[in-house]
Symmetry: none
Subunit: 153 residues, 2 copies
DNA sequence: TGAATTAAGGTCAATTAAGGTCAAAATATT
DNA sequence: AATATTTTGACCTTAATTGACCTTAATTCA
């Protein structure tokens, strides 16, 4: 791991975790200077390691007194997301209904592929072997517990 | 045993056993240079001697500052692990028993923290609200399904 | 005030530095 | 001799680094 980009990434993440806020502000020039690289390498690091997909938001301002602000987006920002999903589940849900919902969470990148598999496996009909009205109710309970767990924070 | 591949294999295994971690990082170019062979011979050694079947995991990165990381998988991380864990669970398991097992999977880094939370939430007693002998049986079924899902591959 | 200057940051393409694949040739084994 | 394993090299893909040129904002000064 002798490349500069990784070092810059680490440095910025340290700044972020040391910060009292959920963001950090730096100067591109100053940073480039500190790491002995050209300024555009900072942009390279920002786009390859601090993209929205990585959970970051980068804002900047040019000109005198310019800066680069890196904001760490708390995962699943919307506070009522868990409530929304839980009310979507209700107190009874079919296996296909549950599958579709888990799929949506995956598409929204709120859970990983492994997590989606994990959740699917826990609520399959051949596992929850009890008679039908109760089975869908139990599935709803388990699914809501898992969603609440994984979407919080 | 005068072929280069064997020497490279030995060299890498020595690096691994000398390492403080369960992995070692090398540069393909550098290694090829050290053994006076073409870089692709390193790949040959990796695929013939450090495959998953041999209990190793190989990751790599291209480009500047690229590397090859060889991870030695802890014994038993292979296919029969699922069987072992499942027989450990049996056909009935208490909540504390399940919690301990999930904790162990986490410690062994077979699952992530989030995944462990996910699994715990799915088998809690207040979720599985049915009378007692049946509840532990249901928990065993769910847990085995989840473990099988997440540990395969 | 308004133009010139200075001080930032942005874009993009070229270059460099890795690692990957695959199949042919060479060598060992059976 | 036939088969399996090892060695080699040509060609490919990905990631990092660099630099030339562009845009925007603040400051200075005529």
């Amino acid at each position: 791991m002798t490349n500069i980009s990784d070092l810059i990434e680490l440095y910025l993440k340290k700044l972020l975790s040391d910060s009292l806020h959920d963001y950090v502000e730096v100067q591109r020039r100053e940073l480039a200077n500190r790491f002995n690289c050209v300024p555009s390498q900072i942009n390279y690091v920002l786009t390859t390691r601090f993209s929205a997909g990585h959970g970051y938001l980068v804002e900047s301002r040019r000109g005198g007194g310019g800066f680069v602000r890196i904001v760490k987006l708390p995962l699943g920002q919307r506070a009522n997301l868990v409530l929304d999903v839980c009310s979507l589940i209700g107190d009874s849900i079919s296996q296909t209904g549950a599958a579709g919902l888990i799929r949506r969470l995956l598409d929204e990148e709120l859970i990983t592929l492994r997590e989606s598999h994990l959740m699917q496996s826990a609520i399959r009909g051949n596992i929850l072997r009890i008679s039908l009205p109760a089975r869908d109710q139990l599935r709803a309970l388990i699914l809501k517990a898992m969603v609440t767990e994984v979407l919080r924070n």
